[in-house]
Amino acid sequence: MAGPQLGGAAVMAVDELDTLILALRADGYRVVGPTIRDGTIVHADLERSSDLPQGWTDEQGPGTYRARSVDGDAQFSYAVGPSSPKEELFPPRQRLWTATSDGDASFQVVEEVRETPRIAFLGLRGCELAAIAIQDRVFLRGSYQDEVYAANRSDTLLIAVECGSPGGTCFCASMGTGPRVDDGADLILTELLDGDPRFLVRVGSDTGAALLERLTHREASAADLDAREQVVTAAAAMMGRTLDTDGLHDLLLDNLDHPRWDTVADRCLACTNCTLVCPTCFCSTIEDTTDLRGEKAYRDRRWDSCFGLEFSHATPASVRTSTKARYRQWMTHKLATWIDQFGTSGCVGCGRCITWCPVGIDITEEAAAIRRASDPTPADLPVPPTGAR
């Protein structure tokens, strides 16, 4: 039978996930998706569907994450963990080139050979697809194309699984990036747990259609489509957080001297975690080193963050010396100036920055506090930690 084409919908049994992973691996893809490690759901290379965190869920709040085992058949019953596709597409460290000297004054620069890995991402949520689209815009659609990102992104396959279990720090519904996924992936799966556990599979590209052909499936019924509707509608109602984006750009930029920035700076550790776990943050720094003999020089690039002092170093000193200036840079970039720069918000509402902040600073709460009062009363300001600066 000819399977569904672009835009079509089918249903497959849960076991077919294994067939899917094996088929992708047979095609030479690394299959990158969720697994459980160190009590946390992180991304790793999957070999079989048994590597998925079946029977696991998570509880997330500001500054806290716990994975917990649960009964039931669900394979994807959790919100996003600390990993994101950024780790593969824009890796934490990349060597750019090596220079070799022959002892005299001459030297040769050897650029790194860029591999173009085949990566199939399995289990991407709406927020993560949106984050990839944002990084595509940053790295590929400007006047300058980032060759590291371009190489890693050139042969990727995106398999989404719509989210049925948002966490305590999620707010994708506010940002319009999820839980519903209608495009942006090669295949879009929805885990249906009513009756017989099964996956609704929608086709988002010709590659996806060809892949579905290799899986045992049947045509989706109206009842299947209905069940999917219920999953995403329920998920949208379960968001742990909300962010009112109405006029947010101007609100933040008109309130650069709001006292709330001081309050949050008293709590903020300038530790960089929020930016490094954020799936859209794209900043990096260059490290130039040489070997002991002085025969080789290396240029490496690694993730950087606007929370670092060096980040704003402009001769003779750093521009953003206070944590207040750095927190304000981060939040106004994510929610306001990103729009001026790239045409969309820099935030997809994944909640990672809230969960993985070691002191639980919440971007939605900070934005709400500034909205609550352009002329704040003391009641709007949280009590700063004892003895804070």
Binding site: Y65, L269, C271, G294, R302, G308, W356, G387
Partner: protein
């Protein structure tokens, strides 16, 4: 100052310390051999009795200043060194022996020594930079061999060394550690501690002990408030968290003092 075949001369000095930083250089055999090819190790008593007279191009200084004699000796070392780099928490922040700065030296001295009056000792254990200008401070208890090799390579090449001053958290994220504070509720000093160790403790599911000292912009008061609120860490325990190898580094010192005031 270069030796006969043009290699820069290096001296390694010891003040009040456990020798652990010198040992981390000695135990890194491969690196040490490579270093010895590029520089002339002219004074390193822990490794060899052979001594070449100064002055020296580069001095590596381990240990803190705890006696009047050492306070004199470090001035001499500075005078005969073109570049002076301190290695480790003792030289950079006074070390674990700076715990005495929080107590009464005379009381300690009469408890420990049979004839305390013959022991010449300063009231405080202090960092080298409090006595002489220092060109670079290498953190850690002990130092990380990779960082030392990087700094020596940089000095040889006449470039800036790559020794970032941001938090340990950056290193956690770069190596893909799961955060033990968030995912396990383990108190971790990583957010207020300078990088350099490669986030070794969190990689083994332990909280960071702060052995590299405070970051460029530390905010221990906020971290303490969170540990107290969320994990129930009390004031005596918070005091102990900050009062270890870098107890006298200013940001950790003032924070532990704060918990002293509120502790019963």
């Amino acid at each position: 100052m270069h030796d006969g075949i043009g290699r820069p001369t290096v001296a390694v000095w010891k003040f009040a310390s456990c020798d652990g930083c010198q040992l981390s250089l000695l135990s890194a055999e491969d690196e040490l051999l490579r270093i010895a090819e590029e520089v002339h190790i002219a004074y390193f008593l822990e490794a060899t009795r052979e001594v070449v007279e100064g002055p020296y191009d580069l001095s590596l200084v381990e240990g803190s200043i705890t006696t009047p004699d050492d306070a004199e000796r470090i001035r001499h070392v500075r005078d005969i060194s073109t570049t002076l780099i301190t290695i480790g928490a003792c030289a950079t922040a006074g070390g674990i022996q700076a715990l005495r700065n929080f107590g009464d030296l005379d009381a300690f001295r009469s408890l420990v020594y049979a004839r305390p009056e013959v022991v010449a000792s300063l009231a405080d254990s202090t960092a080298i930079a409090e006595h002489v200008p220092v060109d670079l401070e290498l953190r850690g208890c002990p130092i990380e061999t990779d960082q030392l090799v990087e700094v020596i390579s940089a000095v040889l090449a006449g470039r800036k060394p790559v020794t970032p001053t941001h938090s340990v958290c950056v290193e956690c994220k770069l190596r893909g550690n799961v955060c033990v504070a968030v995912a396990d509720g383990t108190p971790c000093l990583g957010p207020v501690t300078q990088a350099g160790c490669g986030a070794r403790c969190p990689a083994f599911a332990r909280g960071c002990y702060g052995c590299f000292g405070p970051t460029e912009s530390p905010n221990p008061a906020s971290l303490s408030a969170w540990l107290e609120e969320q994990f129930g860490v009390d004031h005596p325990e918070l005091l102990r968290l900050y009062r270890t190898f870098n107890a006298d580094a200013p940001a950790f010192r003032s924070e532990s003092r704060r918990h002293e005031e509120v502790a019963p």
